[in-house]
Amino acid sequence: MTPAELRTRIDTFVFLMLENRSFDHLLGHLRLPGFGGRADVEGLTALDNPDYANPRANARIAYPFIASDDAPFPGDLPHDRQEVASQMAYAGAAGGYVMNGFVQSYELYSATTGLPDPPPMRVMTPPLIPVTSFLADQYVVCDHWHAPLPTSTHPNRLMAVSGTSMIDRTPGGLLPEQDLVFDWLDRHDVRWRVYSAGFSFFMLMPKMWPWLLTDRFRSASRLAYDVQHESSETFPHVIFVEPDYHDSPVHLSGHGNDNHPPLPMSFGEVFVKAVYQALTSNPARWAKTLFALSYDEHGGFFDHVPPLRVPMEAPAGATFAAGPFTSTGPRVPALLMSPYAPRRTVAHGLYDHTSLLQMLADRFDNSGAPYSAHVEERRQADDPIGSVTEALSPDARADIPRIPDAPLVGTAPLVSVRAPATDSQRSFATAATAFAGARGQDALQKYPQIAQFLAAGSAVEDDA
């Protein structure tokens, strides 16, 4: 589809970004014999392909293996900047990254040895991820979509909503001020809205606090009603749907649903299904909608495709502790769902999260200007990052596939309030506290999770 075609065909863009899974981990099975054998997908050709061999510290080789269940992981997998570098494993002899340091990185991080089935090599299959598998079969799979930066969550999410990042690591506190996609949309008079299933990631950005108390931020449970009933005069053009982040300190449902390990996939599968069903519940509106599902970064899971050569210097005013980036991160799963996303199709173009921003520029900036100078730099890199516009067909399909009912097998202990233990979790907890301190009762009324979090603080204080 061209930008001109996009302008006449898509009115509503819906973005959902889940957490911490690699392409091979979730969708690599698509190419395996026994799971479809789709040679059109850059997936796993055979589990014992020597290219996928990951040495352990004891020299024993670990290969990708088929997961037997959707059990929770013992803990998180390593995915900070230094750890991602060791996972991608630059080799001078190969002149590039050889993608076989995932298992040793995990062994070092988890202070353990010799695991028979190392978590980074786990490969999910359709019975364990029935919703993702169904949507991958019915719509467009992007098999060269990378995390923009070879580092952890917060810098990659900033790339997704800004096109650049002032940080190269996830901090333990609030995020720096940056020009955000919401600023861009406001400058272009484009209506936007955020639907959150829990704490909003944008609570980490003080400049967004005024918006958090407005109707621009709604509960994800409102999405279906709005899709079905809201007037086109007010319905947003750009919608960000947020999961209940695992790293949030409070979960009113007892668990997150963003697929961040140690969570099983089942909670996220239920959420993706709910979002898809909400969006397709109004066929007239769906006829001009694009739903893009992606993951912020690979989360420490194995992927066999080397990163793209897309360098990024620290933007003005920022300092990257480990110097400039020379590449993207590993691939992440990405699906495009729309009447303009043909069934069982693969988009082989080179994409990252900024490809969504450029698509917004294609649609809403008639001047043909790039989304931003930062995004344009990525479009001019040795491995040029494309716009998602290119991955869509100009021809609409008439059907609306319905996700069949399927049992979801993964479970995890319910934990409503949890002590923060990682930088990302501390970041969420700090943001909730600071937001409530700045906005008082208004914040607590709109986000009762914060009240629960603070009440837990009182209880601990009393116990102490």
Binding site: P50, P74, A94, V98, N100, R418, A419, A429, A436, V460
Partner: protein, 210 residues
């Protein structure tokens, strides 16, 4: 006390989650029924369990060691709990049970031992003595599945060329532990810095000495 301060206190009080600083088995590739030592350092007393189950395991102190003698491959789990939070770590112990059981070993070409000069790519694979039971011996050395090239293999003073479908018995009787130098000539489509194998791997048929 302000709400912000209370929440900050929460972060302080609950930030001290339980932790496992290390959980290891040495050696972790052993002969069936041979002893190996589990060792761990954790923040709190914990629980040791395994798959398949071992009825002798159970509560353990925060720091300790434990000798076990698994007859088959076993995954051990250490679980430590503090307040609301539980953490666990798994480790695996591999067992050589059957005669001439294949064990695939190798190293990434990102390893610092890698050299690429002229027409030859080489890397050193280290099977650490701390990880490999000294009684595990080589029967034959072959190429791993999918490897379709010739390797020159050096180990413990011996050397041999290994080709697809033609394992070598030149290393028979030597312990697997130690350094293996693997080298391979580059194909016409390969060159140093371009399109070389991502790792060099061999399949060592292993057996246990009596």
């Amino acid at each position: 006390m302000t709400r912000t301060l209370r929440a900050s206190l929460l972060l302080c009080l609950l930030g001290c989650s339980p932790g496992i600083q290390g959980f290891r088995a040495e050696p972790n590739v052993i002969c069936s029924g041979a002893p190996t030592t589990l060792s761990w350092i954790a923040s709190d007393d914990g629980m040791l369990s395994s798959t398949p189950p071992d009825a002798t395991l159970g509560p353990v102190p925060a720091t300790g060691t434990r000798a076990v003698m698994p007859a088959a491959a076993t995954t051990y789990r250490l679980t430590v709990k503090r307040g609301w939070k539980t953490v666990s770590r798994d480790l695996g112990v591999e067992v050589v049970a059957a005669p001439a059981e294949a064990k695939t070993i190798g190293a990434s070409v990102a390893d610092p031992s890698t050299t690429c000069a002229g027409n030859t790519l080489a890397v050193t694979v280290t099977a650490p003595a701390s990880a490999w039971d000294a009684r595990i011996q080589v029967a034959t050395v072959g190429l791993a599945p999918g490897v379709d090239r010739t390797y020159h293999v050096e180990h413990a003073g011996r050397s041999a060329d290994v080709s697809p479908g033609a394992p070598s018995a030149a290393f028979a009787g030597l312990p697997v532990q130690g350094s293996w130098r693997l080298s391979t000539p580059l194909a016409p489509t390969e060159a140093c810095g371009r399109n070389v194998p991502r790792s060099l791997i061999i399949e060592v048929a292993s057996t246990c000495s009596r």
